[in-house]
């Protein structure tokens, strides 16, 4: 007498559906909690890139004066010489990263940390600074007569 094979297809299908349901549920849970986890431990953020900054009306800058301004997260210095011309530089000393200041007596830039000196055009002229200051482009917006500073290469200086 031949042996009768009666495979239990219904049990096997149920198990398959259970596994499918469980897997989908797990994936849904991961999908729900992963954004929460990433929110609580966000990746390191890059510093926001700033390529220009508006410093307000040109008339607010007296002749033979200098002022530190914020360019992104870096300090800049804007100088208005006795000739009325505006010049702007990254205010970080090229020696040891101190912030430079304008010296109206000699019409130049001075770093108090190690007595480094730059001329009004940002060239290092005495003391330890090894390089000139990084220049920024200065534009006066027509009409509004406002000072707009931009880095030379369009990126944050």
């Amino acid at each position: 007498m031949p042996i009768e094979h009666t495979p239990n297809y219904s049990v096997s299908r149920r198990r398959f559906l259970d596994l499918l349901l469980g897997g989908t549920g797990l994936a849904a849970l991961i999908g729900l909690f992963y954004p929460i986890f990433r929110y609580l431990t966000p990746p390191e953020q890059e510093e926001a890139v700033v390529s220009s900054v508006n410093l307000g009306p040109a008339k607010d800058f007296p002749l033979n004066s200098g002022k530190i301004f914020r360019f992104g997260n870096k300090p800049g210095i804007i100088i208005r010489g006795s000739d009325g011309k505006f010049r702007a530089y990254n205010a970080t000393c090229t020696h040891l990263d101190c912030i430079v200041q304008y010296d109206a007596k000699v019409e130049g830039v001075w770093c108090a940390c190690h007595n480094g000196r730059y001329d009004i055009n940002g060239r290092n002229i005495s003391g330890p600074p090894p390089r000139p200051l990084t220049p920024y482009a200065v534009k006066i917006q027509p009409g509004a007569e406002e000072i707009l500073i931009a880095s030379q290469d369009g990126a944050q200086g």
């Binding site: 966000p42 300090p75 020696h95 101190c98 108090a112 330890p128």
Partner: protein
Amino acid sequence: MFWIREAQVNNIYFKTTIISLLIIVSQAIAVDNCIECHNQIHEQIISDCKEDAHSRARVFCAGCHGGNSALADEEAMNPKYGFVGAPKPKDIPRFCARCHSDAGYMRNFNPALPVDQLEKYWTSRHGELFKKGDYKVAVCNSCHKAHGVFPSGDTRSSAHPKKVPSTCAKCHSDPALMQTYGIPTHQYTQYIDSSNVHGYALFVKNDITAPVCNDCHGNHGAAPPGVSQVGQVCSHCHMLNAKLFRASPHKDGFDALGTMECAFCHQASPDVNAPLARIHTIVKPMAKLAGTVQPAVCVQCHSQGDAGWQMAGKVSAGSDSLAGKFAAAEALIKRAEKRGLEVSDARWQLNGDIHRAMLELRTAIHSFDLEAWQQHFDYADSLVNAVNAQGLHATQELSSRYKYFLIMTLIIALLIVLLILKIHQVENDRKAALTNKQGGIRR
């Protein structure tokens, strides 16, 4: 008449051009017999001189040693051609000065080059001893070499800033030689010590503007700076600190004690009983230098109860408290930045105004005036407190976000559980209804 003058001018130009060409051609084809003969026996010397400053100025062997390089054999070294050969140490300063002290002659090569080296040399300790007949002391070639002389800005020069310490050390680290003069020999090892802020800047950070031996002692006029001149020497770079120090009561006190002003406090492990022991290891300035507990330097002279001791205590406590607050504020801002919160104003304050205010505070110590120091301290403290407040605000904002997230997560989790229970309940109800229905049919 105009055409006659023009012809004369053209004639002069023509003659000058022809003469110049003849000189160039004759120099090009001329054979330097010094090199021809000495090429074998003095190969290294000739190789050293090949690209040095003298060769580039077309000053070859005969330019210094005399003789006639156009003649062959021994005749080239006939004294009638001014041959002097290798000068003896006692002749070297004047030997080099024949050209280097002649402003008119040196103008042909480099008008900007100083011509006072010999004059300065006579004022140096080396020159003083030389004049007394001591020819073991350093002369020109001891520092610049005899052959292969390069400008000090050239990295091949033994007088290049990165080479100066080892050049001076050739003699000053030689115990046998220095014993004669009663000079210690630890200067070089102290200078290259990794804790030496200047040596570290020079050798590790490659900052060739960092001071080396000759920046403090002079080069051609090298001599130890006097006790009361050290502040002056340091002031070339540390101008504000030196200015405050010179106006302070410490200036006269330090000079009277024979301590080397700036160098005494800023050397590694200062000891008032041996004030010059480690002055060539100038350590990175740190807040704990001022205070009433070792390694604070104030305790070397001040004793408990005196005004200096009290000021040192206040400065130390203030500096510690400010440093703690600064570190806390920075940690808060860093944490907030990492969590994506907007704290760029606070970061700007930390890197800009606070950095500068703390530098000014450190400088203000050199006035040794508690009131002046306190003003700087209050300003720096107020800036740090403001940033600290911003950091705390950001932290509170972060805590609130976490709290709301936790509540929402719990609510969602509860919702999921309730949904599962509801599904089970619906399923059970459906099964029960089905069982009841089947029971009814059987009946």
